[in-house]
Amino acid sequence: MIREFGLVEFLYLVSAMKWTLALSLLAFVCGGLLGLVVALLRVAPVAPLRWLAIAWIQTFQSTPLLMLLFLMFFGLALFGLSQDAFVSVTVALTCYASAYFGEIWRGAIQAVPQTQWQGSAALGFTFLEQMRHVILPQSVRIATPPTVGFMVQLIKNTSLASIIGFNELTYAAQYINNLTLKPILIYGTVGAMYFAVCFPLYLLSRRLEVKFRVDH
């Protein structure tokens, strides 16, 4: 029996969107924390730590996110760690985001002039004290626009989770489409829903860019 695309179907999509947002938020928080570690290692004064960070960044930037999702999904199950799609997707997105955040924030850290390192070194600060009190507070201003920009990528990329069967917005769209056979309407609606979340973030990133340019 073919159903119509009505309020119930729409609400189903809205409730699936919660998972898209939850996944995005989780990937942002976990990926952000891990990304901070990656960025710090990437500029650490010890060469092997920098190599480790470079390897991490290159690995996850040079493989398709979809492969990462498959590897996590089947890999975690193979080692008996988890068969849960949500866990696999979160881990995959976290690794993926940490590589990009690590690289974005490395750039932001290195954009702080050398004289700031010298000024704080001359006061006796350790590397981490320099980071915490002098370098990172200044990097945040530089890093905010591209960070928000990448969040948009992250939200859109959660749609790949549908392929391993995680019931987020895109997966729900496929499901509803199978019931209604109205692909243009369904995917149009879902596209608009992604847009409704991402576009304000894009605007925010633009505004921050302008704001920080003026302040600098």
């Binding site: 700031q116 000024g119 001359a122 006061l123 006796g124 600060f125």
Partner: protein
């Protein structure tokens, strides 16, 4: 008693030898000005003393601590440095700039650190600008904040690296006044400077560097009026011509 001891110091940048066997001692309470042409190694010498540059040979002891990677924290706590380009932290107010070193290095409680910072800013005549950010201060004011910040850890020696070179001429005086005041207060200072008038007047001893070596040293009067080496004679002559 010497507070800085430098023995046969060697420093190379790639193939270029920048410091070639420097021997120098600075006594407690002494004000020593290092003069010389650009590229003679003056600034590099200063940066070696607090470990901003690694050294390729010889030995430096500052405030009783050998200058080597494992002891840098102690060295830098006792040896303050002021830079040509101020190097203030632009995201912090003048007051916070001066308070931060105490908070980080001495774990001074925030309120107490700010109190000390206010007192230090008063000492450099900047009480009125405590809440200003570096970007809103003139060059002379920024450099005075930097002096206050360098004093925040109560160092035993101050290294001043061409601290008036980036300033507009009308602001040089206010910074040199503060330095002269510190000198009168007994602060040990090692300054690299192009202000010959000031060097002559404020320094107990002048060190003339040439080609990475200490070429000649002595009281300002003896160096300016009776230069012994050809290099210093030329240097003094070039200053006279410029002035």
């Amino acid at each position: 008693m010497s507070i800085i001891e430098i023995e046969s110091l060697q420093k190379r940048f790639g193939a270029a030898t920048v410091l070639d066997g420097i021997d120098l001692e600075v006594a407690e309470g002494e004000v020593v000005a290092i003069i010389g042409r650009s590229g003679s190694g003056k600034s590099t010498l200063l940066r070696c003393i607090n470990g901003l540059e690694t050294i390729d040979g010889g030995r430096i002891v500052a405030a009783g601590f050998p200058v080597q990677p494992s002891r840098l924290r102690e060295v830098r706590r006792s040896v303050g440095m002021i830079f040509q380009s101020f190097n203030l932290f632009p995201h912090l107010t003048a007051l916070e700039n001066v308070a931060l070193p105490q908070i980080v290095m001495n774990k001074t409680p925030r309120a107490k650190a700010r109190e000390n910072a206010a007192r230090l800013l008063a000492r450099v005549n900047l009480s009125g600008r405590a809440q200003a950010y570096p970007g809103n201060l003139s060059g002379g004011q920024q450099q005075r904040v930097a002096i206050a910040r360098a004093l925040a850890l109560e160092p035993r020696v101050l290294l001043c690296d061409e601290i008036t070179s980036a300033l507009d001429p009308e602001m040089v005086g206010e910074v040199l006044d503060v330095i002269a005041e510190l000198a009168r207060g007994g602060m040990t200072m090692l300054l690299v400077t192009h202000e010959m008038g000031f060097a002559r007047q404020a320094a107990d001893r002048l060190v003339f560097m040439n080609d990475g070596k200490v070429c000649e040293q002595g009281t300002p009067a003896s160096l300016f009026d009776r230069p012994q080496t050809a290099a210093l004679q030329q240097f003094v002559q070039s200053i006279r011509n410029a002035g």
